[in-house]
């Protein structure tokens, strides 16, 4: 029999008629004229939950935004650009994190990989005289390889990803400090030695002076990830492993390969964020990115992806990241203390998780 109060995944569930007579079963069996089962409807409703939340926060921001000469500051192109620019690094990391969380894992190393990549970008261009393409390629490869190694460790050795990436966090941070000598490496632009190619400054610029370049990268990566998650067999495998690894294996899903790929993606995207970070701050500082992994996880959770793995969406994560960005922005515009911002962020996360729980109990 079913615990109606707490259905959902019960790993210890035995076979048998347990749960067979769930009300949903009767509904779908007996009433085929329903356009969709109740569970499906609820799922669909919750799938856009984070979008609604985003809309709500947006409207709220418009209402409470301070005005200048009757103009709503929040809605000014400059401010909106700032919002997306500020969100882009965490957002790109959160895209990778979504894959990992869908897989049923977690990646704590992404913030440190960002730091390592920022240092790498700066050092390679400033000290080693690499061109932009060469430097960025090397940095992205390092990030992907780092992630892949972590994925291999979790999949092959069966160590929980929490632990593997906790270790990875230390290692990446250590490498970043060793590589940089412990200090931030400033990036000066120009053609001379100890100078980075001026074109790298594009990361600080905007297209037509309106759309910040990092924002374009973030949106591009986000859209690509949505497509990947919707259309590819790889994504199906990710969902299957996150939902039930044993079942996935028995259905012929190449579990090891998928896990390695997912962590490699997370590492790669963290490195992308690191390159952007270096570009935006004009330096590579080994201590940067600390705590970014937690903000990324927050975005994923607000986006409705279950930390247990197997359910969730990329669109939700993007909405979650934007929501956090708008929240920070509007609080800053109203001169609200940064520490209060933290409190509010915490409450939003709890509210999102509460909604998740509600979904579980309805479906």
């Amino acid at each position: 029999m079913t615990h109606l109060s707490a259905p959902g995944k019960r790993p210890g569930a035995a076979v048998g008629p347990a749960g067979e007579e769930r009300p949903g079963a009767t509904a779908t069996g007996g009433h085929r004229w329903f356009p969709a089962g109740r569970g499906e409807l609820v799922e669909r409703l919750f799938a856009v939950q984070s979008l609604f939340a985003l809309l709500l926060v947006f409207v709220l921001a418009v209402v409470v935004s301070p005005r200048r000469d009757g103009e709503i500051i929040f809605l000014s192109t400059e401010n909106l650009g700032n919002v997306v620019r500020a969100v882009s690094e965490i957002g790109i990391i959160a895209v990778g994190m979504t894959f990992v969380v869908l897989l049923g894992g977690i990646d704590l190393s992404v913030g440190a990989i960002l730091g390592l990549s920022a240092v790498g970008t700066a050092t390679l261009m400033v000290d080693s005289g690499f061109g932009i393409v060469a430097a960025v390629t090397v940095v992205l490869l390092i990030g992907a390889l780092f992630g892949a190694l972590q994925g291999y460790a979790t999949a092959r050795l069966g160590i929980q990803s929490f632990i593997v990436t906790l270790a990875g966090l230390q290692v990446a941070r250590g490498l970043a400090r060793i590589w940089s000598g412990g200090l931030g490496i400033p990036i000066a632009y120009g053609d001379g030695p100890q100078e980075a190619p001026a074109a790298f400054e594009i990361l600080n610029g905007s297209i037509n002076g309106v759309v910040p370049v990092p924002a374009v990268l973030f949106v591009g990566i986000g859209v690509a990830a949505i497509v990947v998650l919707r259309k590819t067999a790889f994504a199906r495998h990710v969902y299957a492993i996150g939902g039930n690894e044993k079942a996935a294996r028995l259905s012929g899903v190449p579990v090891l390969r998928v896990k390695v790929a997912v962590f490699a993606i997370a590492g790669l995207l963290a490195a992308v964020a690191g390159v952007i970070h270096a570009g935006q701050l004009n330096q590579g500082s080994p201590n940067d990115g600390a705590g970014y992994e937690l903000d990324a996880i927050a975005a994923v959770v607000i986006g409705g992806t279950s930390l247990a793995g197997g359910t969730g969406s990329m669109g939700g994560t993007l909405a979650g990241a934007l929501l956090l960005g708008i929240l920070n922005n509007i609080l800053a515009l109203n001169n609200i203390d940064a520490n209060v911002q933290l409190l509010i962020k915490g409450l939003v996360i709890v509210a999102a998780a509460g909604l998740q729980k509600l979904r579980r109990s309805i479906v």
């Binding site: 029999m1 079913t2 615990h3 109606l4 109060s5 259905p7 959902g8 995944k9 019960r10 790993p11 210890g12 569930a13 035995a14 076979v15 048998g16 008629p17 347990a18 749960g19 067979e20 007579e21 769930r22 009300p23 949903g24 079963a25 009767t26 509904a27 779908t28 069996g29 007996g30 009433h31 085929r32 329903f34 356009p35 969709a36 089962g37 109740r38 569970g39 499906e40 799922e43 259309k231 590819t232 067999a233 790889f234 199906r236 969902y239 299957a240 939902g243 039930n244 044993k246 079942a247 996935a248 294996r249 028995l250 259905s251 012929g252 899903v253 190449p254 197997g310 359910t311 479906v363």
Partner: protein, 518 residues
């Protein structure tokens, strides 16, 4: 059994949204009676006991417990009133000992307020003894067999003064010896005046143990009777609401069919796992063949190595060394893993569909295509049109009852969930299908459909190896039956002409009547 009524449920009606789950159900439970609750999946059994156990709280109708009308606010209230439920997923803490579990939350203390372990063990023994159970109270519950854990749970319920004990498919995961022990425990409960609600799909058991049986159909009481062997047809008729055509008619071994070519040849297969796992019985020199168009049954007691054999053939067992010779369609076959087995044309429907096959939150369609995804994928992208066609074709072919291909698997009944697993493997077009207890927890109607399906697949030339602990299933559906014991084939019996007793005798190690003992 006395005439004293412990519980009287009357006029129980429950709707879930627009769907009526129960209508005007009456159920009386007398002190000291074992009352079987029967019905196909979706008939309303679970809803009814959920109401009695306080899990479902908004319903119409009345429950009278010991002469007083009651309305439970929740499961805790029902428990406090003496209604205990033994769930299929047991509610014990695996890491704690039997004694610790039995005294959980009310541990005996010494004068220093520390745990009084001796008193704990004594109390535990006192509660276990009347049930005729001999389990060391110091053993961790996780090390007990499922059957023993169940007995601990029953003892726990009694220690909490349960007057009503609800047992949901208690024997689904038990070996025969454990079933017998459970039966004697239930008899002991009867002597103590406990009313037992017994839900099971196994009619033999119910004939054996139940004083009365209530059959539910479509949320209404179809009839209440005293079950006996003579009533089996009547019970099935009440459950399905139509005259019971023989369950196995479609599957039964009719005239011997011409045997096809050998699809699977196994010679002296043995597996030595890298690390020993308790409770597993790996193949220890198995030889067998399965021909195209043939359904071969694998019989054996719990722990005889049926599951382990199927897993070895699918490459799904624990890592280890495999010896012996495997031929698939005449070619050497060395399954390195499920992926490899699938490519070679082998499908496997595991025993525990929830733990090993399905994700209840995932959509039916996506669950169906998972194993055959390669066929619908171009350059890594799933071609949704072709996928949709294949899904709909499978849903129609197997008559999977679902509101849509997008509905979560968890919204389906057990039988239909099982069909989803079947569909997944049929989509890969296997030449050999390995089935482990394919009808466990599946209602009578869906069982018959699955049997017909198996026969149809075999007729189309598939080779099927079916492990089952249900003897009628083996004798009724299979062409040949192999009996396993300690990881070896100990007898081979022609299904059409052997009885359940013969199979059991061989499985338990007696002289196999009519079998060619190896």
């Amino acid at each position: 059994m006395s005439d004293q009524v412990t519980v009287a449920m009357s006029g129980i009606t429950k709707r879930f949204g627009g769907v009526r789950a129960l209508r005007g159900v009456h159920l009386t439970l007398r002190a000291g009676e074992v009352h079987a609750l029967l019905g196909e999946n979706g008939a309303g059994k679970s809803t009814l006991i959920n109401i009695l156990a306080g899990v479902v709280t908004d319903y119409d109708g009345e429950i009278v417990l010991g002469g007083e009308p009651v309305r439970f606010a929740g499961p805790a209230a029902a428990q406090a009133a003496g209604i205990a439920t033994i769930h299929q997923e047991l509610d014990l803490v695996p890491a704690l000992s039997v004694a610790e579990n039995l005294t959980l939350g009310r541990e005996p203390r010494t004068r220093l307020r520390t745990l009084d372990r001796r008193a704990m063990a004594r109390t535990a023994r006192d509660w276990l003894a009347p049930l005729g159970v001999e389990i060391d109270p110091g053993r961790p519950v996780g090390s007990l067999r499922v059957g023993e854990q169940q007995l601990v749970e029953i003892a726990k319920a009694l220690s909490l003064d349960a007057r009503v004990l609800i047992m949901d498919e208690p024997t689904a995961a038990l070996a025969d010896a454990e079933v017998r022990r459970l039966m004697s425990t239930i008899r002991a409960l009867r002597g103590r005046g406990v009313a037992v609600v017994y839900i099971s799909h196994r009619l033999e058991e119910i004939e054996h143990i139940a004083d009365r049986a209530t059959v539910l159909r479509n949320g209404e009481v179809a009839g209440t009777l005293r079950p006996g062997p003579a009533d089996r047809q009547r019970i099935i008729t009440l459950m399905v609401g139509r005259p019971a055509q023989a369950l196995f008619s479609a599957g039964s071994a009719g005239p011997p069919r011409p045997a096809g070519p050998e699809v699977l040849e196994v010679e002296d297969l043995a597996v030595r796992p890298r690390s020993a796992r308790p409770g597993r019985c790996e193949p220890a020199g198995v030889s067998l063949t399965v021909r195209a168009g043939e359904i071969v049954g694998l019989a054996g007691l719990m722990g005889a190595g049926r599951t382990e054999l199927l897993e070895a053939l699918y490459g799904a067992g624990p890592p280890g060394r495999r010896s012996g010779r495997l031929l698939l369609a005449g070619r050497p076959y060395a399954p390195r893993g499920p992926r490899c087995a699938l490519r070679a044309g082998v499908g496997f429907v595991p025993e525990d569909r929830r733990r090993a096959a399905l994700v209840l939150e995932h959509a039916v369609g996506r669950s169906i295509v998972l194993a055959a995804l390669r066929r619908f994928t171009t350059a890594g992208v799933v071609r949704s049109g072709r996928e949709r066609d294949a899904v709909h074709q499978q849903i129609t072919a197997l008559a999977i009852k679902t509101s849509s291909a997008g509905a979560p698997v968890g919204s389906l009944s057990g039988g239909n969930q099982q069909k989803v697993v079947f569909a997944r493997h049929l989509l890969t077009r296997p030449r050999l299908l390995l089935l482990d207890e394919p009808t466990r927890g599946v209602d009578v109607g869906a069982k018959a459909e699955i049997y017909r399906l198996l026969r149809r697949l075999a007729d189309d030339g598939m080779a099927i190896l079916l492990a089952s602990s249900e003897l009628p299933e083996l004798t009724g559906v299979c062409d040949r039956i192999l009996v396993l014991r300690h990881g070896r084939v100990v007898a081979q019996l022609p299904a059409g002409r052997c009885t359940g007793e013969e199979i059991l005798t061989a499985a338990m190690g007696g002289a196999a009547a009519g079998g060619d003992e190896r």
